[in-house]
Symmetry: C2
Subunit: 286 residues, 2 copies
């Protein structure tokens, strides 16, 4: 049994928002550090009871300050439009050396909003684990959700190196592989590889006429799967990353125009090359 | 043990093109009717040996007439731009009461081309099993590929009722659930629910920049999965169903324009309704 100081940290972790992601952080930590106390903030008594009964959380609490008071790490796992205010609240009630991190799919506006509160900014290392599902809620949480998944940290120039190192350590405990980029880089890349594709998936789902729907095969179902995602979460993501997503949708419209031209011209050689290029890029990803 | 005439049919089935679909037809028939002889047409000696060794085909043959000569059913499982000519050839070498069917993802042009050959049209009941995968080749064939899957039959006014009934019986033997529509209805619906979505999937894959690709999550991978499909097969599908697909891409461009406007207007309520509508339609499908 190891008893070194390194293995004693974090002794207590607070999860603010125990849904699919927050619940999976809890389960992954329990797997890695069975001794660590997991505190979960949930407003509804039913949810607190559920989290406790399911063994997801050791100590469910009804207020945010209660959750943060003695925690070494606070994970804000709320919708992106709620994260900044919760980070600021968490900073007020947590110990001085507490690491506050999050799971938000957008970063720039969160980081800017937190930056206006020096005490909060000093404790905050923004994070985005590239893991999730179209499902939501703690019932779908798993201890392996982050295994081998990239966790993007988006520190700023004022982030203390020691705190940043703690954030790397913390996210690796969940099974994730950490990397760093700026908040703006993150948002630009995510607009391209996640947010725009999500809207495209919803677009294809929305266009399906009821007469055609019985003919949907596994292809259509794969393409449209993420359209099941929570509209409230995705409206917030679109709002937080509006400019970059708008840019990607414009790029999509341009590419679509070129594709339509290929079809109109009956240029089968060019269409074959176009499809081959898409296949080639897709095959770069597992 | 049943020995009624009904259970003796078909005594021999020829599969012209033993890839993912043709191979799965063979395996599904073997499961349903172990006594039925499965003949497979493959040009390459290596492939014939493979099909025989893997137990997919009882009798691999090197020419199309050899495969058809004594078969009660011929299944043409070739790329869509090759199907019509193979149906015509199969009609020439098969017995008078032979049922010829196919698995093509487009129907109108195939049916029109076959209609010019009265003898072939008299034996042909076009079919499209809504089943498949982005993978190809007999190595991925399974005996359950068609289980519970819709198989669309597209008879014409000249299709004999008795032959049509045979086609229903045959495709149900594979595990599929048959239904009927006209070739044009089929092509219009498939353009909307399969062909246009496939191109959209390829579009999203093609747009991924190499810097963003490491950040791809399960959402992007689901959306772009079918883009791995064979470019040659899909070029042929686009060519065969060009008009309907062009119409769907135009509708897509219009819908995309509306979505971009929602984002530009920062109309989050409207965006929420839009995403909710997409989710609602998606949830109608399993």
């Amino acid at each position: 049994m190891t008893t070194s100081a390194e293995n004693e940290w974090p002794r207590q972790v607070a999860i603010l928002g125990v849904g699919l992601l927050g619940g999976s952080v809890a389960l992954a930590l329990r797997r890695a550090l069975p001794q660590t106390r997991l505190v979960g903030f949930a407003r509804s008594p039913e949810k607190r009871q559920y989290l406790s009964e399911q063994g997801i959380i050791d100590l469910p609490v009804a207020t945010l300050p209660e959750a943060c008071q003695q925690s070494d790490v606070v994970v804000v796992a709320a919708p992106v439009d709620r994260i900044a205010e919760m980070v600021v609240s968490a900073a007020e009630s947590s110990p001085p050396d507490c690491l506050i991190t999050d799971v938000g799919s957008t970063k720039h506006r969160i980081v800017s909003a937190v930056a206006e509160h020096l005490d909060a900014a000093k404790k905050f290392v923004p994070a985005h684990p590239i893991a999730g599902s179209e499902k939501s809620g703690p019932a779908h949480a798993t201890d392996s959700l982050f295994d081998e998944k990239l966790v993007v940290l988006t520190p700023t120039e004022t982030t203390e190196p020691k705190l940043l190192e703690k954030a790397h350590r913390f996210w690796r405990l969940t099974g994730g592989q950490t990397c760093e980029m700026t908040p703006s880089e993150h948002d630009t890349h995510l607009a391209a590889i996640s947010h725009m594709p999500h809207l495209v998936s919803a677009l294809v789902a929305k266009m399906a006429a009821s007469e055609a729907l019985p003919l949907a095969g596994t292809g259509w179902r794969d393409i449209t799967r993420v359209a099941i995602g929570d509209p409230t979460l995705w409206t917030a993501i679109c709002s937080e990353n509006r400019t970059a997503i708008g840019g990607e949708l414009e790029r999509l419209a341009d590419e679509l125009g070129r594709l339509r031209q290929l079809l109109q011209d009956a240029d089968d050689d060019a269409l074959h090359r176009w499809l081959s290029k898409a296949k080639e890029i897709r095959e770069l990803s597992p």
